[in-house]
């Protein structure tokens, strides 16, 4: 790289030379287009965030039924616009560490049952009101109330009292919970004036962007909130989210430059899309996984030999290759992978073994076909995955009978109701939350009907354990119990695949969820 090129690169990165002119002069200096473009984007990244511009996103996961009430957020668009307009007490950085947001600092009593959170002062809501500890407490109370219909109700249940002490919010939990702060980073728990008790869907919160237009299922427009406390976020002047539920339409919109950022790129087109000029496909290994679940209390799945036979009869590598097109990693029949803190990577990986499968199947004494229910909504490629499973199981002498269920009503009629079906899990920030949500005997969503006393007591013990090495050992044992006795067949962990063009910069992958865990619009900046 000669000096003149370096000079040009600097000017272009600072924005004093426009992109087109830069590319032209770079070509004149003999730097090929593609490498000039790459150099420019890294120079832009090094330059730090630039202010201004409008971000236009094309997103899947918006419906005309969406509400601005954070308690009701359940799909991707409300998830992302929630983080534009509102803020939680705590955030999670890409490494999975807690970061202060509206709570500046926090500490726990030695028994991990009393937690104190110091609420940041000088934070203003979009309506000019100043945030108080009372607003935070009211928000938590609203979400703990059975009437709130909040998606966070389940995680709030462990909190027995919510009190305000000056600048502090003090929470008591009924049992020790070392992970409580992680739960408060949940995307439903955006702090609202008076906790949203007056008007939950007003959209008035304390985030870096405030509402301009809200047409559910069509388009959402937000503009920068000038009095936001944190200058590290909110670099665009405005955010426009277009709801584009059709995958091909999303790709075209990105390629034609109508939008700069899209979510949910299909694995089968990700490679093609990455070849389009100026498009970057971002694949992030996450905690979400695609599963086949058996009810451990229902015949024939109440026999662990049969469950083991099925676990040995699935070809995980093949599924990652064919269903995820390589955008993912193999699962190990437990809901935890290396993206979680305190993961024990010494647990051996289970692989496809028709002989073992045949051995366990014969020992189970079961004969005849086994019904497996699947649907296109269970996860992308669920029908193909069931067919691959059928083939690999047939090689071990196990006959699977695939029943294709309609997508409509799958989550109410089949999942968590029928004994063997395909499903998916989105992952949780910490192991405790994942296990408490679906593997504890008393969990609402114990979708494998897994009742194991040893497991339950380990989970409770780990929850109150503040010594990390000890916790890791407990989690490791729990993982092994689920892997060897549970009803979960987890063939693969899927990556999140998003894409943006080179008009925006600042992408940092976050394994928690897609679009930098919903932070992309407030963390990225304009590079054009």
């Amino acid at each position: 790289m000669n000096d003149e090129f370096r000079y040009l690169l600097n000017r272009a990165a600072r924005g004093t030379l426009d992109r087109r002119a830069f590319m032209g002069r770079a070509a004149a200096l003999g730097v090929a287009g593609a490498s000039a473009s790459t150099l420019l984007s890294s120079a832009v990244l090094a330059q730090g965030p630039r202010q201004g511009g409008t971000l236009v996103m094309g997103m899947q996961g918006g419906e005309s039924t969406n509400s601005l009430d954070p308690a009701l957020a359940a799909s991707q668009v409300p998830y992302v616009y929630g983080y534009c307009a509102g803020e939680t007490m705590l955030g999670l950085d890409p490494a999975g560490n807690l970061t202060p947001k509206l709570a500046e600092e926090w500490d726990a009593s030695a028994d991990a049952q009393t937690w104190r959170f110091k609420i940041r002062s000088g934070v203003e809501f979009h309506n000019g009101q100043t945030l108080t500890a009372e607003d935070v407490a009211q928000t938590l109370r609203r979400h703990s109330n059975e009437d709130s219909q909040s998606g966070a109700l389940g995680i709030m249940r462990g909190i027995s009292s919510i009190a305000v002490d000056g600048q502090y919010v003090v929470l008591q939990t009924s049992t020790p919970n070392a992970d409580l702060p992680y739960l408060l980073a949940d995307y439903h728990l955006l702090i609202q004036p008076n906790g949203g008790m007056d008007d939950p869907a007003s959209g008035i919160m304390s985030g870096p962007y405030k509402w301009v237009e809200n047409e559910p299922g069509v388009r959402h427009v937000l503009e920068k909130f000038e009095n936001h406390w944190d200058s590290g976020v909110g670099h665009f002047n405005a955010i426009e989210i277009l709801v584009i539920n059709d995958a091909t339409a999303r790709n075209s919109a990105l390629q034609s430059g109508q939008v700069q950022l899209i979510n949910r790129v299909e694995p089968r087109v990700a490679g093609l899309l990455a070849r389009a000029p100026g498009v970057h496909v971002e694949s992030t290994a996450g905690r979400g996984h695609y599963v086949f679940i058996m009810h451990c209390n229902t015949a024939p799945f109440d026999n662990n030999d049969l469950r083991m036979a099925l676990k040995y009869a699935i070809n995980r590598e093949d599924m990652v290759e064919r269903i995820l097109r390589g955008y993912g990693s193999v699962g190990n029949d437990m809901p935890i992978n290396s993206a979680y803190p305190l993961f024990d990577d010494a647990i051996p990986q289970r692989t496809y073994d028709p002989d073992q499968a045949r051995f366990y199947f014969e020992r189970s004494g079961h004969s005849g076909p086994i019904d497996l229910r699947t649907s296109e909504v269970a996860f992308p490629g669920a029908i193909d995955a069931a067919q691959l499973f059928q083939e690999s199981a047939a090689a071990a002498g196990i006959e699977l009978n695939i029943i294709r269920e309609p997508g409509d009503g799958y989550w109410s009629e089949v999942w968590n109701a029928k004994p063997f079906c395909a499903s998916y899990w989105g992952g949780r920030p910490v192991q405790d939350q994942m296990y408490s949500t679906a593997y504890l005997s008393t969990a609402d969503w114990n979708d494998t009907r897994f009742f194991n006393e040893r497991f339950d007591s380990l989970l409770i013990e780990a929850r109150g354990e503040l010594d990390l090495a000890r916790r890791k050992a407990l989690y490791s044992e729990m993982g092994l119990i689920v892997r060897d006795e549970g009803g979960l067949i987890a063939p693969m962990f899927n990556d999140f695949i998003d894409a943006h063009n080179d008009q925006i910069a600042g992408w940092v992958a976050n394994p928690a969820a897609e679009l930098m865990a919903g932070q992309a619009p407030i963390m990225m900046w304009s590079a054009a």
Binding site: T65, E146, S252, A253, W411
Partner: protein, 318 residues
């Protein structure tokens, strides 16, 4: 009473009866959908407590018949209720969506109806020669392709490759008419291709039917130009079937374009309806159903009345 007037009144009464029957069907249909509103609204994140609360709040426990009459009564007064899923007023929400749907439908109709009829006339003029065969081949090909494929191909060519028109047809009230027309160019193009063939073929067939008549021969012997004969003499007598087909296609443009709306991200009625069906938002589904039924029945009624009026034997009874 003039027999035409009587016929028209009969038709109108029949249309009204049909509409009431449709409203009963819509109501019954939404009652037998599997699943339950509360479950669908809360999705996979629902907890049993939240579910129970939501069901009680929505009054899903009252008998269906009383709910039907209450609903019909309110609907006749323009009150379509509020959406269960997000608490918005349905009439306001549908108003905007319906306007968008009608806008796209009128643009597509303004292009497709004259084009189809003109191509039909042209096909008759050059019957069994290359223009006729070319027109038939092109229109039949476009109707045979699935709409979404046609949409993707057109999007790829005109938006991604050439960059002439936007691939996302998002319109909003802040746009000028010209901007809106530019935004809907691609979906209107696809819809035109989809409805063209049906109307063109019917025009061609209906006119060919009357071309055998003696008065056409007379017109030919008078020395009129062939195209004048077709347009001025044959066409008026072939109007009834053509109008019928045109109306069916217009109704289709209003009620049947959900695939195109999804592909081009157009904020119309279809997408609105589908979103609410998947959330079991019964009041919205019923309201959309009622509006679609009204449009369908209304346009077909109009077609009937036009064909009655276009029949000289009915207009001038002995």
């Amino acid at each position: 009473m003039h027999p035409v007037l009587k016929l028209v009144i009969q038709r109108l009464a029949l249309g009204l009866l049909l509409l009431i029957a449709a409203s009963v069907l819509i109501f019954v249909g939404t009652q037998i959908l599997p699943g339950d509103v509360a479950q669908a609204v809360l999705g996979q994140n629902a907890t049993p407590e939240a579910l129970a609360n939501m069901r009680a709040q929505m009054g899903l426990d009252q008998p269906a018949s009383s709910r039907y009459f209450q609903w019909l009564f309110n609907a006749l007064h323009g009150d379509l209720g509020t959406a269960l899923s997000n608490g918005r007023d349905i009439a306001t929400a549908i108003g905007g969506r319906l306007k968008n749907t009608l806008f796209l439908a009128s643009v597509a109709a303004a292009i497709s109806v004259p084009t189809a009829i003109f191509l039909g006339l042209l096909a008759v003029r050059y019957r069994d020669r290359w223009p006729d065969k070319l027109i038939s081949a092109v229109t039949l090909t476009s109707i045979s392709l699935p709409e979404f494929l046609l949409g993707y191909v057109i999007m790829y060519v005109f938006s991604v490759q050439l960059g002439w028109f936007p691939s996302v047809s998002n319109i909003n009230s802040g746009m000028s008419l010209w901007q809106k027309l530019n935004a809907v160019a691609l979906p209107a193009m696809v819809l035109t291709l989809v409805v063209l063939a049906h109307m063109m073929r019917m025009t061609r067939a209906a006119i060919l039917n009357v071309m055998q008549s003696a008065y056409i021969e007379t017109a030919e012997l008078k020395g009129l130009r062939r195209f004048t004969i077709i347009a001025r003499h044959a066409m008026p007598n072939a109007l009834a079937p053509i109008v019928n087909v045109v109306m069916i296609n217009l109704a289709y443009l209003v009620v049947g374009v959900v695939v195109i709306e999804v592909v081009f991200v157009y904020p119309g009625m279809g997408q609105y309806l589908v979103d609410h069906v998947s959330k079991r938002d019964v009041p919205v589904v019923q309201a959309c159903g009622l509006i679609f039924a009204t449009v369908y029945i209304g346009l077909n009624l109009l077609a009937d009345i036009i064909s009655i009026l276009s029949n000289p034997r009915l207009r001038h009874p002995k």
